[in-house]
């Protein structure tokens, strides 16, 4: 299965990362993952491989951005504080505040969404209903739900751009 799809997965990963070398590396990691995991019966093996590939890429993107942000914060700290403290230990109380601020910022942006997009977004993303169920509840098509949520995500991205 993997052998047949290796070529297209590599092409996908190169497009997804924009980096041929990283794509090769990820294909290798993907192969290791599926060959050791013995994933068992899967309905759609191709979609399964693509989804794992997506997760691997996102893990890296997330880690890269976190590192960039941390480096930025560290630099800020150094310019303000003359005698630097240990750079790592951020008190957990501060983490709690950051989490709360994050949720408040997201909630405010969600509250400001256009009505239809906001309702579809809340039902699907916050209340956890599948697309089909949201479509039934709002009396629109499934693709209409996806369009609403895409509009909502675009608004949120604009509102939360750091």
């Amino acid at each position: 299965m993997f052998g047949e799809l290796r070529g297209e997965l590599l092409r996908f990963l190169a497009a997804r990362t924009g980096d041929r070398v990283e794509a090769e590396d990820l294909v290798q990691e993907l192969w290791l993952r599926v060959s050791t995991a013995e994933p068992g019966p899967i309905g759609n093996g191709r979609a399964y491989l693509y989804r794992i590939a997506q997760n691997l890429v996102l893990d890296r993107v997330r880690e890269r951005r976190r590192r960039e942000r941390r480096d930025g914060e560290w630099a800020d700290t150094q310019t303000i504080k003359v005698a630097g403290e240990a750079a790592d230990a951020r008190p957990s109380a501060a983490d709690v505040i950051i989490e709360r601020e994050e949720a408040a910022a997201l909630a405010a942006a969600i509250a400001a969404l256009p009505e239809g997009a906001g309702r579809a977004f809340r039902l699907h993303k916050l209340e956890g209903l599948p697309h089909a169920e949201v479509a039934a509840q709002l009396g629109i098509s499934r693709s209409g739900v996806e369009k609403h949520i895409a509009v909502a995500m675009t608004h949120l991205r604009r509102a939360l751009k750091d």
């Binding site: 996908f12 994933p39 068992g40 996102l58 909630a107 599948p130 949120l156």
Partner: protein, 318 residues
């Protein structure tokens, strides 16, 4: 970056959960313009931020939209208000968890201690230095001194990082091994699911199978008879949400949802073979068996049939 690109990225992102996702089309879209990749990264990470903060966002959003159309909305979807009004229930259950906390101490500790939580209740116990387990109603955990834990049912684990002493939980022929994390295990004896909210665990069928690593935001579903596992995504906010009185499901096999309801209410709920492995996503308000089963029927579109004292989901003829 323009809105059209972000919208397209968000549409592709939603499509990937579907089995008929056009992966070739997605690849071609990514190749067409380097901005597409960047937009997709932004959307995927934003989606994750929302998932991670879901509980807190719900808590800080107003309880209803305050619009004239709300009555209409409410009438069509009676399940909505209970969900938004759960704050009180969650608080009550948290109190119950605290009151139920108990740790057998003293010199007469037997070799194996069994902890059980009654139907509809949760119970938090200290299972090792720096590790606690919160048992879902109707579940049992056996703790042997210096040995692995054995779980029947469902429990949430919170383990302080200690590489020298990993915690191992045996459940229905699988071994879940952890060195510092928060995760949730659920088993009905035929299917297990291990979902990770923080950190990383490894899951393997007992008897030396190669373990599968499960990181935060993911879960594995294990087939007990075959000893195989399947990796899926799982919103961290959904992991162990039952502890605060919310049954939040993200791609959970229907058989485990039924097992949760049965344990929580203390009344049997079974699932027809044909739909047992169907993935269920949605939120159930805690209640009696009939109301919880009715929500599942509505959300999953499965039939419900009574057979004596038991309730069968997804049987034929419905």
């Amino acid at each position: 970056m323009n809105d059209a690109i972000l919208e397209a990225a968000a549409l592709w992102h939603q499509g990937q959960a579907r089995d008929d996702m056009d992966w070739d089309g997605f690849t071609a879209w990514l190749e067409a313009d380097p901005r597409h990749r960047e937009a997709y990264d932004d959307i995927a990470l934003l989606d994750e931020r929302v998932d991670n903060a879901r509980g807190a966002i719900l808590a800080s959003l107003p309880a209803n939209d305050g619009e004239a159309s709300d009555d209409h909305f409410e009438a069509r979807f009676p399940a909505r208000r209970p969900y938004l009004a759960w704050g009180g229930i969650a608080t009550a259950l948290l109190v119950a968890v605290t009151a139920g906390s108990w740790w057998a101490s003293g010199p007469s500790l037997p070799a194996t201690t069994s902890y059980a939580a009654a139907a509809g209740q949760t119970r938090t116990v200290a299972v090792a230095d720096g590790a606690t387990a919160t048992l879902a109603g109707g579940s049992r955990l056996d703790v042997a001194k210096g040995a692995a834990l054995t779980l029947a049912g469902s429990a949430y684990f919170d383990v302080r990082h200690d590489p020298a002493r990993p915690l191992t939980v045996n459940v229905s022929g699988f071994e879940v091994r952890d060195v510092g994390t928060r995760f949730d295990i659920n088993s009905d004896g035929k299917t297990i699911r291990v979902a990770v909210a923080e950190g990383k665990v490894s899951v393997a069928a007992s008897g030396g199978a190669v373990p599968t690593e499960v990181t935060a935001g993911h879960a594995v579903v294990g087939d007990v008879a075959r000893g195989t596992v399947t990796l899926v995504t799982a919103a961290p906010a959904s992991v162990g949400a039952w502890r605060s009185g919310r049954f939040i499901y993200d791609q959970v096999p229907l058989s485990l949802v039924a097992a949760d309801i049965a344990r929580y209410t203390g009344h049997p709920v079974t699932v027809a073979e044909g739909v047992a492995q169907r993935r269920f996503s949605g939120v159930l308000a805690p209640g009696d068996r009939d109301s919880m089963v009715a929500s599942v029927r509505q959300l999953a579109g499965v039939s419900v049939r009574r057979e004596g004292d038991a309730v069968l989901l997804g049987g034929t003829g419905g």
